[in-house]
Symmetry: C2
Subunit: 220 residues, 2 copies
């Protein structure tokens, strides 16, 4: 379902040039459970952003469901993203001025779902991640792990076929983290495709396949 | 060196009232290595902020080096903080418009250290955490784990006697995390007092003493 062909990503900011990914070619099958591991700064988040249609490579091609995504215009890219992909950011990226009930509703708002249904589904997924007692809190009125779980809830609410998670348990104690892994397991059983970037060995081991990255390259 | 007496912390925001800590009384000795563990949302960051003079309790007293800190005015509190405490935030709290060399210099700037020495010491501690090749990057031009290491460098540059670390390895792979733990070990050997909030069992086990928190209370 996901196919990258010699992806290269160079960040160019002012005088700074950083080659974050070089010659990355991977194929990920539908309904597979994958983990991406590697040292800090090795290019994992960069790769996940390209797979998630949130960034474009400087060289190479990316095919999602056989469509050459690397060629698409921004609004077409956004459409595909909203429909097919649930992205959990390493830095959560919650909107600071909305409470978490409204933050989690956002993907449904973009999908044109009506208010009453949005609210019910938002409450439902927030209850799944153990945050039903925090619905009216804004992100800065939460603990680190509660913000992380809010980001997880928002990524899952639209039932996307592809779930991309960047360090989803980094701020969670072992038990709460296991609860999140159980949610991912259920989604995998229901046919979803899962890609988790993680430093947590427990999380990496549950994947069928682990992709190793070092200095922007895939290694075995 | 640190003594809290029946600390209570209630967050009051609009209609929301959350009791984050209740009746917390702990004593921490000079030159000890402590970890604080507990479920997500249990009050760990709240307790660390009070110990770090970044927040005040709603009830109870806090003594730092036998001074009743809970009574002090904000500017006196800031003085003590800058001199004695190095705080590593769970959310890093780096200044977005400064590169990391300048971000890490900040505690020395407040301490009145001259430009040339600030720059040398900043480079030195950034090299210790493996970021010598990223000095001119701003925080948004870094990976998650690189931001975390920048926050660690900034907390350590003034050689504070008390180091408070909130989930310092949450975004780091095992090897990079071990490197950070080595730095903490050396500081402990040199007489510093260390308190680490962590979900990482490896990190918690290295402490001489572990404080368990659940629902805002200390448990055994
Ligand atoms: N500004 C605030 N207003 C209201 N409630 C808050 C505020 N900040 C934190 N809380 C609540 O206080 C409780 C304790 O928060 P704290 O950040 O101390 O937890 P924690 O143990 O550090 O959690 P984690 O492991 O997830 O980082 C949480 O349940 C949180 O929702
Ligand atoms: N906007 C940017 N400009 C310049 N360099 C960047 C930018 N964003 C990231 N980098 C660099 O690209 C490299 C890869 O970053 P990436 O975020 O993909 O790493 P990562 O593997 O996710 O690391 P971590 O495990 O620490 O989160 C890093 O060394 C980083 O410094
Ligand atoms: Mg990353
Ligand atoms: Mg916390």
């Amino acid at each position: 379902v996901i196919k990258t062909n010699s992806i290269e990503k160079i960040y160019k900011t002012g005088k700074i040039n950083v080659c974050a990914l070089r010659d990355v070619s991977i194929e990920i099958e539908r309904n597979s459970y994958n983990s991406i591991v590697g040292p800090s700064g090795s290019g994992k988040s960069t790769l996940l952003h390209i797979i998630g249609c949130l960034d474009t490579p400087t060289k190479g091609d990316y095919y999602l469901d056989e469509v050459k995504v690397s060629d698409l215009k921004p609004n077409k890219l956004a459409q595909i993203r909203n429909k097919k992909i649930g992205f959990i950011f390493q830095t959560f990226n919650l909107l600071p001025n909305l409470n978490i009930l409204k933050n989690v509703e956002l993907p449904l708002l973009y999908a044109g779902v009506r208010k009453k249904e949005r609210e019910e589904r938002s409450k439902d997924v927030l209850q799944k991640v153990g945050l039903e007692h925090r619905l009216k809190h804004k992100p800065n009125e939460l603990s680190g792990g509660e913000r992380q779980r809010t980001a997880i809830a928002r990524a899952l609410i639209n039932n996307p076929s592809i779930i991309l998670a960047d360090e989803p348990t980094g701020n969670l104690d072992t038990n709460t983290g296991k609860g999140i892994m159980e949610i991912f397991n259920k989604l995998y059983d229901m046919g979803h495709t899962i890609i988790v970037v993680t430093h947590d060995n427990y999380v990496a081991k549950r994947a069928d396949r682990t992709i190793n990255i070092k200095d922007g390259k895939i290694v075995d």
